[in-house]
Amino acid sequence: MVAVLGMRNRTQQEEAMVPDPNEYVEVMPESLVEEGEMYPFDLDDEQLMLARVEGEIHALHGICTHEYAELWDGDIEDDTIWCPLHSSGFNVKTGDATNLPAVIPLPVYDVKIEDGTVYVSRKPIRNDPDER
């Protein structure tokens, strides 16, 4: 009896920890996100990506703001994401355009890790193009 009650409690807690699916989407297991690598995924109609730098996982828009280029085909050095086509640079944490030719910052999304799974916010928390 006690054991069953305990299990039910834990299940309720786990459910409470999963972010609201209206606000966050599940992306992938945290353990598969390797240091210095980028992982594209679709969110609604947008192409986003995860990037892991110094252990921390970041979620950003995946398309260069200069011209169409898939940034996950680029590279990460320190905290800069480099566009594969024209070497625009973006700060992985802030999305700021740090190297021309890009001048428009990259939208940044919130990342939550719950129970070994990476969740990303549906809306950007920085540089939302709808607010420009």
Binding site: G36, G74, P84, L100
Partner: protein
């Protein structure tokens, strides 16, 4: 407290923009004035030959600061204003409108201008050059409805314009004295692939020849090659290179030799007078020689460097790995490295696939590298160049080699 200084920047391109912002953001608290003969604030010229001509990018959309006005940074922008004289003794710049600017620091970022051809017929209607927004708008208008476009010069501008015109549906003839396009920039084993890409898309290459004459009643109707053979065309674009805009500096007694001569801190022969970007022929300490670069990346980086030097404080010598890109049709070309001719070139990938990386090696040491349609590899390749890596050519050529992984240890 020192008296605020006055920085005057001549020219209104990327170099001016970068220098003004870098000076301001690195503690320059005096006035900053940019004087440019163009009517637009500094803008990105690189889409002019590509997205603008192809109609996918508007010229109103090329600024470097889409959201921020220069006034926010206290930068005064004088458009439509040419400097007519510089006096380095009294430290004055005379402007075309009769005004005089006093400076403590002066930056020449006057850029370069297209070389004009003045053979018979080159004054006809329908002959275009491309450097500025108005040039691009005129050319774009003329390309609409153009049937046969003769592009003279197969350097970057010529090759990109040829690709844009062909993409718009025109018949295109691309002519150059050299045996291949981009002959000045790329090793023949690589530029021959660019030639093949143009042919894949139906561009007619006329190489090892020059256009001696243009003919037409009022508008251009045909060109004449040096063997006397005619080529029908209703539009001509000339892209035979640029010359640095040095007259003002030369008249001011500043040392000029293939551009304004500077050291590795953008300093010219006159005190507190600097030069950067396309106009500067600067000492590259890593190369051990002077170099003048006409590419976007250098214009921005050297402008930033000049701004930091002018703001004072500790600044490293300017010694970057030169970088440029070009987009033609669906092909992306990127180059990193030191332009040296005496290299062995190792090709990775099958030229028939139009997707290769070329490594320039001298005594086994990587001097430069080019990717053609291999952008995914580019940043890794650039790291190898920056490190002047010594890697067995067989490893570089082996398709099993993961260049991205290989370059990690140089990150």
């Amino acid at each position: 407290m020192s008296t605020p200084r006055h920085l005057v920047i001549l020219g209104g391109g990327l170099t001016s923009h970068s220098a003004a912002l870098a000076a301001r953001h690195n503690g320059y608290d005096g006035s900053i004035v940019i004087a440019t003969d163009e009517s637009h604030p500094p803008y990105d010229r690189t889409p002019l030959s590509k997205a603008v001509l192809q109609g996918t990018r508007d010229t109103a959309d090329l600024g470097f600061q889409p959201d921020v006005d220069y006034e926010t940074d206290g930068i005064q922008l004088l458009t439509g204003t040419t400097a007519s004289a510089v006096d380095t003794t009294s430290r004055r710049v005379r402007l075309s409108d009769g005004e005089t600017l006093q400076y403590d620091d002066l930056l020449f970022a006057t850029g370069a201008s297209p070389v004009h051809l003045n053979g018979p017929g080159f004054e006809l209607d329908g002959v275009h050059y491309l450097r500025t927004i108005p040039d691009a708008e005129r050319l774009k208008d003329s390309l609409t409805g153009a049937r046969r476009v003769l592009v003279i010069g197969a350097g970057f501008i010529g090759s990109e314009v040829a690709a844009s015109a062909r993409s718009l549906g025109a018949e295109v003839i691309l002519a150059d004295l050299a045996p291949v396009p981009l002959s000045a920039a790329l090793h023949p084993d690589l530029s021959s692939i660019v030639a093949a890409i143009h042919q894949d898309h139906g561009v007619e290459l006329r190489l090892r020849t020059s256009v001696q004459e243009l003919r037409g009643t009022q508008r251009v109707e045909e060109g004449v090659f040096d063997d006397g053979s005619p080529v029908e065309c209703d539009l001509v674009v000339v892209g035979v290179g640029v010359q640095p805009n040095v007259t003002l500096a030369e008249d001011a007694g500043i040392r000029v030799e293939n551009g304004i001569v500077t050291d590795e801190y953008c300093r010219t022969s006159a005190p507190d007078v600097y030069a950067a970007g396309d106009v500067a022929n600067w000492w590259h300490p890593g190369l051990g020689q002077r170099i003048r670069i006409e590419h976007f990346d250098n214009a921005g980086a050297q402008g930033t460097h000049a701004g930091k030097v002018i703001a004072g404080g500790d600044v490293e010598p300017f010694a970057p790995v030169p970088y440029f890109w070009s987009d033609q049709f669906d092909t992306n070309i990127q180059y990193a490295g030191y332009p040296k001719a005496d290299c062995d070139v190792i090709i990775r990938g099958d030229p028939e696939s139009r997707s290769v990386t070329g490594f320039y090696l001298r005594n086994g040491e990587m001097q430069a590298a080019v990717t053609i349609n291999r952008a995914r590899e580019f940043r890794a390749v650039r790291r190898l160049v920056a490190a002047r890596a010594m890697i067995d050519p067989r490893t570089l050529q082996d398709p099993e080699t993961d260049i991205r992984k290989l370059s990690r240890e140089y990150r």
